[in-house]
Symmetry: D2
């Protein structure tokens, strides 16, 4: 900090500070914490799956979602974020609950969203008219500025994890939103969506008909044009990798089959499988992540704190917090992060860290 030439109680200095404030100026030398040595703005945090399911069901009973209404969404609100409904500074995480017979009408927005189905069946998400069936473990995309609506024509409720880049886009002051018309879209329920008809095997790209989804706005071709990634293919890919490598862990990244890029310019999605008894190496990265435990149980050490988890739990790994995972039962961890943003802006950093020792009383 700057050495001041005069006493702190110098009336001239007081007058300067008053005049600065009146002129909408702030002296850097009176700021604390603007430039910390390393990121440290967030602590790790975990939400219990049981709590999420219970509260989602109660909301389903008490809060309607009639035509003209909105989404029934419970947002992970990190307690460090002063009441904002955000999981991290850049990531929105939530559970969404749609009861049998309910409909969530169409809208579109510049923030990009994805859905990872947790339980239930029977929901169809329409993305620019392409009808995507949803089942547990499926990942469904609603990219930036695509029209999307959710239909549950069945009787069973469905619960899924929603992730958006909304906190980031809001901070960029680039949120655009447009509600859809009154009418719901008709659709033909088919097992495979249009986008899945176009991408059926690795490395085979359709000519001519390749772009299943088109958006007339800027950025329209910056997201994956495969809109649904089925659990059975992910499960098989991980099994295949484990067999091929002989390792105790494997991971895949969900990408645009036409480019190999992340599914969205702002969001990375991955599935990490850790076999029972295995503990991963510890790493830390600039940028934040949300993990959703899809299968199994175990514990993660995050920034020196140990968090036990079971299927349905969700937790935040803050920027630059070292993290490792240890599986008690074979575990599948769905992970989203803002790493593509940090990479695009030249801010990515990754570090292997020594294995974190947790004191016995904390373990």
């Amino acid at each position: 900090m700057a050495t001041q030439r005069f006493q702190d109680d110098d009336p001239n200095v007081d007058g300067l500070y008053a005049d600065l404030a009146a002129a909408d100026l702030q002296p850097l030398w009176r700021q604390e914490g603007l430039l910390p040595r390393t990121p440290q703005r967030l602590t790790p945090h975990l939400w219990r799956g049981k709590t999420l399911r219970d509260l989602a069901e109660r909301s389903g009973e008490l809060i309607g979602i009639d035509r003209g209404g909105d989404r029934r969404v419970l947002a992970l609100a990190h307690p460090d974020l002063d009441g904002l409904p955000f999981a991290t500074h850049t990531l929105w995480g939530a559970v969404q609950y749609l009861a049998g017979g309910e409909l969530a009408p169409a809208h579109r927005h510049s923030p990009a969203a994805l859905r990872f189905t947790l339980q239930g069946s029977g929901v169809w998400t329409l993305v620019n008219g392409d009808a995507l069936h949803m089942a547990p473990g499926d990942l469904v995309l609603t990219p930036s500025w695509t029209w999307h609506e959710h239909h549950n024509p069945g009787t069973e409720p469905m619960l899924w994890f929603d992730a958006l880049d909304l906190p980031l886009v809001r901070n960029l002051d680039a949120v655009f939103f447009e509600p859809g018309g009154e009418e719901l879209s008709p659709y033909q329920p088919e097992k495979r969506s249009r986008s899945e008809h176009h991408f059926t095997a690795p490395g085979l790209l359709p000519l001519g008909a390749g772009r299943a989804v088109t958006v007339e706005e800027p950025g329209s071709d910056r997201f994956s044009h495969l809109l649904a990634y089925r659990w059975e293919t992910v499960d098989a890919a991980l099994s295949s990798l484990l067999r091929s490598t002989g390792h105790q862990e494997a991971a895949i990244r969900y990408t645009d089959p036409g480019t190999g890029h992340d599914i969205m310019p702002t969001l990375r999605a991955e599935l990490h499988r850790v076999l029972a008894g295995h503990r991963t190496a510890s790493t830390r990265r600039a940028g934040s992540a949300i993990y959703v435990v899809f299968h199994g149980s175990g514990a993660s050490v995050i920034g020196g704190r140990r968090f036990s988890w079971n299927a349905g739990d969700m937790f935040v790994v803050p920027s630059w917090a070292a993290v490792d995972h240890e599986a008690e039962e074979d575990a599948d961890l769905f992970r989203i992060s803002d790493e593509p943003v940090l990479e695009a802006l030249g801010l990515a950093r990754t570090e292997q860290t020594p294995s974190q020792q947790i004191p016995a009383d904390r373990a």
Copy 2:
């Protein structure tokens, strides 16, 4: 908004909301303003050059910057940003004042910075050891994670405009900072810096010695390796364009001569010249900008409000606010923006807007 099945005073609903809050969850249907139709989070704002100069001088008299100290910086603090020392959600703007004989010691940080000199002479900025002389109108870069320090060996004070991507990088929780050692770096004062020796004419790239600045961290080659852009070359470029096109306005973008990319992945810098009597077309863009009036006088209509300006004034154009400029005297407007960020993330939008009519009483 969702229709509620029960009365607002239903105790079950109250209980639900209490339990949600206790579980760090927030119901989306009680959120207002999360998804506005268009960006609208900031109003335009202008700071007077005279005020900036006066307060910078008073700070110079009252606040020391001894060895071990810090920078003497007055940050533009937009009144819409709740006391944060930021000009927009992504951009830091400030004036920095260094009196004769003063030294601002070395440090480095992941946020990128640039300096546009407003008045004075005699300062040398060292960037990873390359000594850059500064004179009015010069643009000097201190890219992400480069060591930098400022020396004023002369007697005259110098005032410059500082711009950083700090608000963005802070929101990404990717701020890293490292202070330098106690010793100031010695340097050889030469008219042209090392980086300027390597880039002397458009299109001629040095082989072998091409990278004047190297940083050992990730992202190190994502910024311009020309570190100083001299006013005389910018002035000549604009004159040449005006002569060649016959237009009443011209603009150049400062770029990496080795790639044509923006000087930083997070910051765009441009110089816009508008001849006396000319009014530009009106456009709006997703993303925010700060303008610094370097020469001339005139007025800008921003989001329907008219702001008159003179040399030294600085003003913010918020995201999606239509803006045009009208020069009374030939005007040079230095402009920085976060557009490279929006472009990298697929969020850029631009729109030509009808010429804005200002009611006589507001003009």
Copy 3:
């Protein structure tokens, strides 16, 4: 042509021409055909599948391929190319025949190669140690500078189509070649190769283990790291496209699943399916192609000449010759071309052409 100031029989001019020749110089004004209006250096040409099969079998009977030996390859030698064993100026096409029990030992070369299996079974191609089983319709890659060898441990002979960029690389004078050691590589015959274990579904990329094949030389990451594309996936992809679009034709491009780029920087590979009774639009492109009829029968009009074809036939479409295809029976056409080269060099041109009328006597 230049007007000459003196008579053609002017002895001074004769002397000039003699002196130019002696100095290894040639006057442009005496050159003909260096700059034609459009490409016209090659005519279309077709090789009959029956001929190819018969001669391959006879070669198998008469010409050995013992250990220490070479490949049993019959190269398509376009009659316009003055005895060079090339199908076009840039593309090598050939049939290769490997009898039961035969082995083609390891080598590597900078020209890239691919194999499209026509008939037989039981061959394993090893690419940098990864064992790829081959069956009819499978595409197997041996990218630039990868070690490769072919084993036929069975009793049945196998016939496949070989394509290389050898004429191009030879003209660039960039052919490098290295023979392998005396020993054949042992391998574990498994249904799926290592590279296929790593890429199992569209859009799912493995982390960490993603690069199944590595080459330590320049250019090593410029080719597809999926090395085998199975006929059943290609067949299913085309059926899926036809169902989804309702069209009478469909096509897929074989690409690197990690980038969406062509399988090699120099070679494009596609499979075009045309349903019986359908005739495609006519187009022409800068760059040449070889078609291999895998299934079906029909006819193509190429540069105004009509060529009927059956399964096993191969034909060349020269640069800028308009081409369309009409299927008599459902047809699958495997196509390779040098288009990635023309695109990389800014020389690509494509034109839709009016449907070509063929005089009755030629049809």
Copy 4:
């Protein structure tokens, strides 16, 4: 080579070979030299500047270039290339001579060309209507498919070096050519061309007016939009580099100021300065080059052979031939190569080689 199961004089084998030939097929096992260990298809070769100047002048006296005529061009015809007027397999090199008062009318072609002026003054080259004045040491571009014509309104003849990618484009069978109309284009002789008005300093890119030259065909934005590189800027850049580095050699690459890419997708152009008494390191590269000695004298060792040179001499460095240069007087070597092609196609290789020893009797 394959072991043959039967005697060479087996009539069945003879019959096979005859039938193969009749079917336009060639057996690989009878080919020699298709896959050499390393590139070896060309020897180094040198043309004397005095010879080139003398023959160009004699051609100027004897061969007219009237309206309707062509270019007066003497092509470097490498003796290894069987009478083709090409310097290497990919590069065309030539001298062009335009006497005072002569005009070379407009045409355009897909092969790209550049001109490096050797002597004389007063010529204007028009590129899509932009008039470029030419003086010794200037580099002037006529990119692919741009209209270009040469005017010499003065009295002095001019001699320049022409380089084209014609051999490459011809081998790709992608030559397109279009003659211009009868009328020559009027132009305003100004010291700086339109393209030079748009690019005046490193790193400053014009907004809006940035693209001085536009071509409506594919590939149109793949070349440099700065069309003239003046000798004085190249000379100053090299001096600046030598001063800054303290080395005895320096080199610049001519690039598109908007991208940093090579001036054309197919051609690399560089200027290498070697100070008197200095000998460079020896390197070899896949791909061929032509050097033009602009200033000075010295010698190069190419593939183990020593070539002495003086201003005006031109020589070919074949693919994979090691080369170093030693200057007797301060030397400026203009160099063009096909390296961008090899890089784009994943075929580039470079190797530092031990200093080449030349036996005394050969030196």
